[in-house]
Amino acid sequence: MPETLTLPNTPKIHLARYLAQGKDDTPCAPVEVTAPTAVTVAHPVKLTQNTVNGLDSWLLEAPQQVTTIDVPAGFQADTPIVLRGPATGGGVIQIHVGEDAHVVLQERWQADGDVLGVGVWLTADAGATVDWLTYDAFIAPVAVVQRTVDLGAGTTLNWTIAGFSHNSGASLATVNLNGLGAHATINVGVLASGRQHVGYVTAVTNQAQKTVGHINQHGVITDKAHLIFNGIGHIVKGARGSDAQQENRVLMLNQDARGDANPILLIDENDVTAGHAASVTRVDARQMYYLMSRGLQEALAKRLVIRGFLEAGLGEIADPELKQELFDTIDETLVNADA
């Protein structure tokens, strides 16, 4: 009964309105996965997945493609498992990371379409380490994306989300720290341009004791784009010794750009630490002056300052080629915005 489930909490983002537009349902090619043979990849017709909220139901209904990835216990590899989304659609992915496995994930989307739905559910069993890079560059006008992570005891998640899409809509990253001492760091770097109206909700729930959740979101907005950052840190009753920290920063490049940074801390336990910082700013005049005092022209100096701002969200990306691609996209977007 999907109707009875409520939608996730997305302040200032009109999720219901996006969902009412109806989701693309034409079947498409599955997600292309490059992985060592020890990893099992399948494309079943239907995904068996708990539906926690109304968005789960929406995503799971008639998905354009289904992909499951199973990483066995004890798996160790530094070469990433690469996931490349289909060219023309969304779909659903279920990833299971076995006990004590150490896995590097690289996920990339550049799909076109009308209203894309992308759902990713990742479960990591005790002792697992997941380094995850998500690169969203959707071309479709609307995309609703939800990624949900459940972490077991003693797990570590290092997750970077590079939001370089052209779509409007919502992108949710939800991490549940279910096991004792689970540890998650989520870095989000977003470049919003054109007439995009896009919201990011990064939520971490400390369910178990001594869990640590850090959210760090940096966004640059140009043209007439509107970017909303919601950071939600929730420490439930009983999760003693836990830590919830978040930082949401938005840089606006012109008068028509709009930005919201909303840090939300929900603390139901006393013996915890929590903190937040938020800002909506313009380009740093001191940095501009310094760069220009060495002869750099204003446009170039500005690009470098903006790159530096986003670096705070994207700093964990080690792949030099991908980083260069992101920097090139920043430069291109800003050159177009200046024109």
Binding site: A285, R286, L291, S293, R294, L296, L300, L304, G308, E311
Partner: protein, 255 residues
């Protein structure tokens, strides 16, 4: 041969027009080939002078002119002044992440060159390695983000590295000696001395004689209350070290 002339320069902070002027009629001429030291107590306008020459938008020229080779540079923006040959080694350089030191220095060099004659990457890296070795900077500083997490001393050295790589006609160095230990001071001074030549001039701002033991100036000027109150040779700095600035009064300039 190039020449910078500061003529009756009056300056205010742009955002504080109701406050009195910081510079109250500064006159100064720096010819190429000359090392000019600017001394004086704290808070008397030395940094303001350097920042105003460079074109820091924080400052407003209310009277007078800054003339480079016969042309007023007041209408020029900070980047245009840099490309005209000016350089300011700053007291508090900004930190910029996401941009490596090497990438930035290369951009600064290329900004001064025509687009069809950019510096070849191999030649640039060779020069950079050589210059960093002179300044005894560890190799990894080229790949670190610009001034990000640099110590005070590393920042100063990095300013001198940029100076040596960019080869400006006139380098203003704003308290490049502050926060440096004696070994670092010697290294930085050696770097500046390597720049000396008929095509290079410098305005060195310092409180202390010590730096001038290593970079011997051709001219020493003392600034107090927004004016140059005394000008002399290298020995003026030495005598100030003994007497201090207290006895010097505005209006005593022996121009």
């Amino acid at each position: 041969m190039s020449i910078l002339e500061i003529k009756d320069l009056h300056v205010k902070v742009k955002e504080e027009p109701e406050h009195p002027e910081i510079l109250r009629g500064v006159n100064l001429t720096i010819k190429s080939g000359e090392i000019h030291a600017l001394m004086g107590p704290n808070g008397n306008g030395k940094s303001t002078l350097a920042e105003t020459i460079m074109g820091n938008p924080r400052y407003l020229v209310t009277q007078g002119d800054i003339v480079l080779d016969g042309q007023s540079i007041l209408p020029l923006g900070v980047d245009e002044r840099a490309r005209a040959g000016l350089f300011l080694g700053m007291q508090y350089p900004a930190e910029i992440s996401g941009v490596t030191n090497a990438e930035f220095i290369r951009a600064a060099i290329n900004a001064r060159r025509p687009e069809d004659d950019q510096v070849p990457i191999m030649q640039f890296l060779k020069d950079l390695d050589k210059t960093m070795a002179i300044l005894k900077m560890p190799e990894d500083m080229a790949d670190r983000y610009l001034n990000q997490g640099f110590s005070g001393g590393e920042k100063k050295r990095n300013e001198i590295l940029q100076l040596m790589m960019v080869h400006p006609g006139l380098a203003m160095l704003d308290e490049i000696d502050s926060g440096l230990d004696i070994d670092a001071l010697r290294i930085v001074a050696h770097g500046v001395n390597l720049m000396r030549g008929p095509e290079f001039s410098s305005l060195i701002i310092t409180h202390y004689q010590r730096l001038l033991d290593y970079i011997v100036p051709d001219v020493v000027s003392v600034m107090k209350d927004g004016e140059i109150i005394e000008t002399g040779g290298a020995d003026l700095a030495k005598s100030l070290e003994k007497t201090g600035y207290e006895h010097l009064k505005v209006g005593d300039a022996n121009a």
